[in-house]
């Protein structure tokens, strides 16, 4: 790890100001950034911790009935506090990494990083969530722009994520045996006006919606509705732990299981 300056502002405005410094980098829970810095793959000059900003922590419900989670909220807090209102999201949060990761890692950090195997991008895209920053609101459909790439501008901070609460939802994660990140995972959310299906871990383009399955499940919300559908292996990730064909196959299996288990 190379030397860096460390600041821990107490307000979003101060954080934004600190991020204006050259090569400054926002620090959420540090579950990706710190290991990357230890390996000397990243060398920010200033690390701006967002952990001291009380205004971007917590889980609430807004007037529109959406579950609003502060960008600096840890996975463990989401697992605990979203449980009654959005059990599908709480269950997902309770299976991110291990207890140490869940008590440090944040929803904002996960979404901003947009790791192609991370869980939160699937939940945000699978619910059509709105990502709120210090300057604007971004629809999940516009936010994710390919692996490790998002609509965020340099210095922009995720302050809140607003999740429309589905009538039923489920997240099925098939873990990579070593890292236990998602080898493939599928988030299915059933709403009165339709179904959304988001897939993480599988595509070289990062998280994506399986629109064919969404259409079929919006007609009939049952595993059989998607039994004959398949995702082409083209563009899927192929690595030590699975071929593109295997990942494409798992998308179908996990989607059916998510529909079966949705509650």
């Amino acid at each position: 790890m190379y030397a860096f300056e460390f600041v821990k502002p107490a307000t979003v405005a101060d954080a934004v100001a600190a991020l204006a410094a050259e090569d400054a980098q926002a620090l959420g829970g540090g579950q990706t950034l710190i290991p990357t810095m230890k390996q000397r793959l990243a060398s920010p000059s200033v690390l701006v911790s967002l952990n001291g900003i009380a205004a971007i922590k917590g889980v609430q419900t807004d007037a529109a009935g959406r579950l609003c989670i502060g960008g600096g909220t840890t996975h463990a807090t989401v697992a605990r506090e979203a449980h009654a209102r959005f059990p599908g999201l709480a269950a997902m949060a309770s299976h991110v990494g291990d207890p140490a990761v869940r008590n440090r890692g944040t929803i904002g950090g996960s979404l901003a990083n947009n790791d192609p195997s991370a869980c939160y991008p699937a939940a945000a895209l699978g619910t059509g969530a709105t990502i709120v920053t210090n300057t604007r609101e971004i629809a999940a459909d516009d936010f994710f722009q390919g692996m490790f790439t998002t609509a965020l501008e340099p210095g922009e901070i995720i302050t809140e994520v607003k999740f429309p609460i589905p009538t039923k939802a489920n997240y099925q994660k098939f873990v990579q045996p070593a890292s236990r990140f998602a080898l493939v995972a599928v988030f299915v959310a059933h709403y009165a006006d339709g179904v959304r299906v988001a897939v993480t871990g599988a595509s070289e383009s990062g998280v994506f919606r399986w629109t064919e399955a969404e259409a079929a499940l919006s007609g009939a919300f049952a595993p059989d509705a998607v039994r004959d559908l398949s995702v082409p292996a083209d563009g899927m990730i192929g690595d030590l732990h699975g071929t593109p064909e295997y990942r494409a196959h798992l998308i179908g299996v996990l989607t059916r299981r998510a529909v079966e288990a949705a509650a």
Partner: protein, 221 residues
């Protein structure tokens, strides 16, 4: 005497070096020949290729067991290593010789939830005839017995589920197991069968939730 040998004052340093050392070698008349039988029960999720070890029963004849606790520990550690070898661990190099599994993000070590609670039996203490203790080696038994039992159990589970799979190279990762079922082609008419044991059914069910419920055993097909 030891104290005197290590406290050099008042010591005849001119005629004798301080210290007290003695080395003796024991040359065993022969190797020891422990023997054992290992039973493994697995469930295979044929849709994903994921293997779960439901129970592992290890019966070994280590001769006279002098310290049962450390012998038990040797078997537990050995079987865990064997499960790692059979299901998880592999070192992969690319064409340029670069190690691809250079960290635990890609090299899969067995963890606590990858292994069941083991059932062991060391009651068959047939004396070794050619050492005074009557003891036999126990260090490697678990690691030697477990991989074939586990791999055979997976093959048996796949076959009883209607998949004509005869061999899968270790480690039996989900991707490899699934690929093997695809290569073999699912045969029609495969019926669910109870029991997916490499070497026969263990006498005692390893997991309480399966005890007394034979239908719960075997592959999920």
């Amino acid at each position: 005497m030891t104290l005197a040998a290590y406290v050099p004052h008042n010591y005849p340093l001119e005629s004798l070096e301080p210290g007290l050392e003695e080395t003796a070698f024991y040359d065993p008349a022969n190797f020891t020949y422990p023997a054992g039988a290992y039973l493994c029960e697995v469930e295979v999720d044929a849709d994903t290729g994921r293997v779960e070890v439901m129970s592992f029963t290890c019966a070994d004849d280590f001769g006279v067991v002098i310290n049962p606790m450390i012998v038990e520990g040797q078997v537990h550690g050995g079987v865990t290593q064997g499960i790692g070898q059979a299901l998880l661990e592999v070192a992969v190099y690319d064409a340029n010789g670069q190690l691809q599994t250079g960290s635990y993000m890609d090299y899969a070590m067995p963890r606590a939830d990858d292994v069941p609670s083991f059932v062991t039996d060391h009651s068959a203490m047939t004396r070794c005839t050619h050492n005074p203790l009557g003891a036999k080696g126990c260090g490697e038994a678990g690691a030697i017995g477990s991989p074939p039992a586990l791999v055979n159990a997976v093959i048996d589970a796949l076959q009883s589920g209607g998949h004509d799979v005869k061999h899968i190279d270790m480690p039996l990762s989900p991707a490899r197991v699934w690929a093997a079922t695809q290569a073999a082609g699912a045969q029609s008419g495969g019926r669910p069968q109870a029991g997916a044991h490499g070497l026969g059914r263990p006498d005692h069910a390893g997991r309480p939730d399966h005890a007394g419920n034979p239908n719960a055993q075997g592959g999920r097909h």
